[in-house]
């Protein structure tokens, strides 16, 4: 431990007498957690018979492909129009002061850009090898069509209340859309979706964030019990979501985008510093995508990890983004679909690829000099790394090779990203909760208190059970949401065709040239 670490860890030393007991609590939580959730995780990630390809990965891949073909590769032909919409070229000046396309996109992004891009990518590359990056990019590109579909529906079927509030999301398009098409079961889908959203909010939107924030903080400050981080994060979150101190959330919401931009700039600098190795890194990514380069499971190992982490990072098909995007002020729901398709592009294709390239280029993954293949650590179930670190610590180690100060900066970024994602997911979870139980101060406070308690559990548990449970809950949301999207995609097509024809005829005006 350096002097700096020792100095920073000094206040924690006072807690040493309780540390042993605390670690006991951590282990107990872990055991209970793994015991109670293990069966469900196994069910969600079960392999297809006779293969080692999980059915849920195939589920999302097929959905993304279906939406891509059904909407005629909207992510390619609509990309420039998406940019124009975000720039406000088609925004009516009379609507100024309302939620703009940019604001809806930025808020949705602050709920998705974060640990998935930093820790998730490291997990994918650590287990699936550099090749996982290729499949992550592919999943991101196809996932753009999924996001387009769900966010168009989110706006089309949102609820607008007399007091001006707007609420939308899959639960609304499931009930209203199914009813419009004369299909039964919309309400059941909505209820199931809400249950999974609540659990997803507590899992991926909460425990995973708290867990990785603790991992990063303990990497910088020295080891200390996870519940301390959990308690601190839970306390601040409690002040914001229960105490109504919105200024903290507002500050976070403004700082996080700049942290994201800073992260990308640092990544670009590292890549430029290693300019001569970029070609080699892309070679590793392409070769690894089809051969595995020594990774257990080879091609499918890389593919599954790539798809899993991409879905976890950009949330395409999960349905959460439809909640955030639904507040935009537009007369054309499909415009928000266009804007939302940029989300997986920014999140996965740009930011995740940056992280992956830095991890590969900086050489923190151990390569056997004789075979040129990655060294597999069968005990840990991943590629052997420098210091045998994984998750966010691997990303931190990679960036530290270029800039020794980066781990401290990353620790701050991770905590802020984690906090921002928690705030977003506490909102998504609350929307699902109130949809099921109705609105009311007592009901809302109950959810918020539960949410804060899960932060402590998440920070105390080990990486494995937390990641598995988080993924299982998010993918459960995707199961219900994607089925609903299949039923409702003809409505989106109708909206799209009408919009495109009016755009071509000049009926839809461009306000800025």
């Amino acid at each position: 431990m350096s002097y700096r670490k020792a100095y920073l860890a000094a206040p924690l030393a006072a807690l040493l007498p309780v540390q042993a007991a605390a670690q006991g609590i951590d282990e107990t939580i872990n055991t209970i957690f793994a015991d109670y959730t293990g069966w469900y995780v196994s069910l969600i990630f079960a392999d297809l018979p006779g293969t080692n390809f999980s059915w849920i990965a195939l589920w999302l891949v097929v959905a993304a492909l279906v939406f891509t073909f059904y909407f005629g590769a909207i992510q390619l032909r609509g990309f420039t129009h998406s940019i124009a919409l975000v720039k406000g070229d088609y925004s009516d000046p009379d609507d100024a002061g309302e939620v703009s396309h940019f604001q809806a996109l930025a808020t949705a992004l602050s709920g998705t850009v974060g640990l998935g891009n930093i820790a998730g990518v490291a997990v994918a590359v650590g287990i699936g090898g550099p090749g996982a990056t290729f499949w992550m990019i592919v999943a991101g590109l196809f996932g753009m069509a999924t996001k387009f579909t769900e966010c168009t529906l989110g706006v089309k079927y949102r609820n607008e209340y007399p007091d001006g509030r707007v609420s939308g999301g899959p639960m609304y398009y499931m009930t209203k859309g199914f009813s419009e098409r004369g299909l039964p079961g919309g309400k059941i889908f909505a209820i199931l979706f809400c249950i999974f959203t609540i659990l997803g909010a507590l899992g991926g939107g909460n425990m995973f964030q708290a867990n990785q924030a603790h991992a990063q903080l303990s990497g910088v400050l020295g080891e200390y019990p996870g519940w301390i981080t959990g308690l601190l994060l839970a306390g601040v979150t409690f002040i914001v979501i229960v105490g109504g101190i919105k200024s903290i959330a507002q500050v976070t919401e403004k700082v996080v985008p700049f942290m994201g931009i800073f992260y990308v700039i640092v990544s670009v600098i590292i890549l430029l510093m290693n300019f001569d190795m970029i070609g080699w890194a892309f070679g590793q990514i392409f070769m690894g995508a089809f051969t595995g380069l020594g990774v257990l499971g080879g091609f499918t190992g890389a593919l599954i990890q790539g798809f899993r982490r991409a879905a976890f990072s950009n949330e395409a098909g999960i349905g959460s983004a439809a909640i955030a995007h639904s507040a935009v002020r537009t007369k054309e729901p499909v415009t928000e679909g266009y804007v939302a398709l940029l989300e997986p592009f920014i999140d996965t294709v740009v930011i995740c690829t940056m992280t992956a390239l830095v991890i590969v280029i900086t050489g923190v993954l151990n390569i056997d000099p004789e075979t040129g293949l990655y060294v597999w650590n069968s005990e840990a179930g991943r590629i052997s790394t420098e210091g045998e670190v994984a998750g966010v610590e691997l990303t931190s180690a990679a960036y530290a090779r270029a800039f020794s100060w980066f781990p401290a900066m990353l620790a701050i970024a991770v905590v802020l990203f984690a906090f921002s994602t928690m705030i977003s997911w506490s909102y998504y979870g609350l929307k699902a909760w109130t949809y099921l139980l109705g609105e009311g101060a007592a009901k809302e406070t109950t959810f918020k208190v539960i949410f804060c308690l899960f932060i402590i559990i998440g920070a105390s548990a080990n990486l494995g059970p937390v990641i598995d449970f988080s993924d299982a809950m998010l993918f459960s949301m995707a199961v219900v949401n994607v089925i609903a999207l299949y039923f409702l995609m003809p409505i989106v097509k109708r909206e799209l065709e009408s919009y495109v024809s009016r755009l071509r005829s000049g009926e839809i005006k461009r306000f800025k040239s």
Partner: protein, 145 residues
């Protein structure tokens, strides 16, 4: 509006009687109509929390209502009571750009603005409203101390 139009970049009670009083004097002499432009600062590129997104539409309606009842309403009453024809516009966005835009739309012959007197670092670095108007106003600009 058939007579000449003077635009007043009206921020609120602090412009009263200063800029508003002077604009009224000039309008009375010239027989001009006053157009009060009140701008609520807003950027479509700012960052909001999910809760703020949900409430934005309702808040905007309340903000406009409050601006109308507390800011432009009393000013308009005062101008009309002095026998000067007047209208007002409430807009969201960048003050300088929107005042110039409204002046262009109304075919205004002159813009009146109060000197903000701001000594803040932000005003020095990014410029104040009078400075901005002085740079891009297409018609004569009167900065009232």
């Amino acid at each position: 509006m058939s007579s000449e139009v003077f635009v007043v970049a009206y921020e609120g009670a602090q412009d009263d009687p200063g800029v508003l009083g002077y604009a009224m004097q000039r309008a009375a002499v010239e027989g001009a109509t006053l157009l009060l432009v009140h701008v609520l600062e807003w950027s479509p590129y700012s960052f909001l929390t999910p809760e703020e997104l949900e409430e934005r539409h309702g808040r905007r309606a309340k903000e406009i209502e409050r601006a109308r009842s507390d800011v432009t309403g009393p000013a308009l009453d005062k101008v009309k009571a002095a026998g000067i024809e007047a209208e007002c516009v409430i807009r969201y966005g960048n003050v300088v750009e929107l005042v110039v835009e409204e002046a262009g739309k109304a075919g205004a012959g002159m813009i009146f603005v109060g000197r903000s007197g701001s000594q803040s670092v932000a005003a020095r670095v990014f410029g104040s409203v009078p400075m901005g108007l002085a740079q891009i106003s297409p018609v004569p600009l009167v900065i009232v101390p």
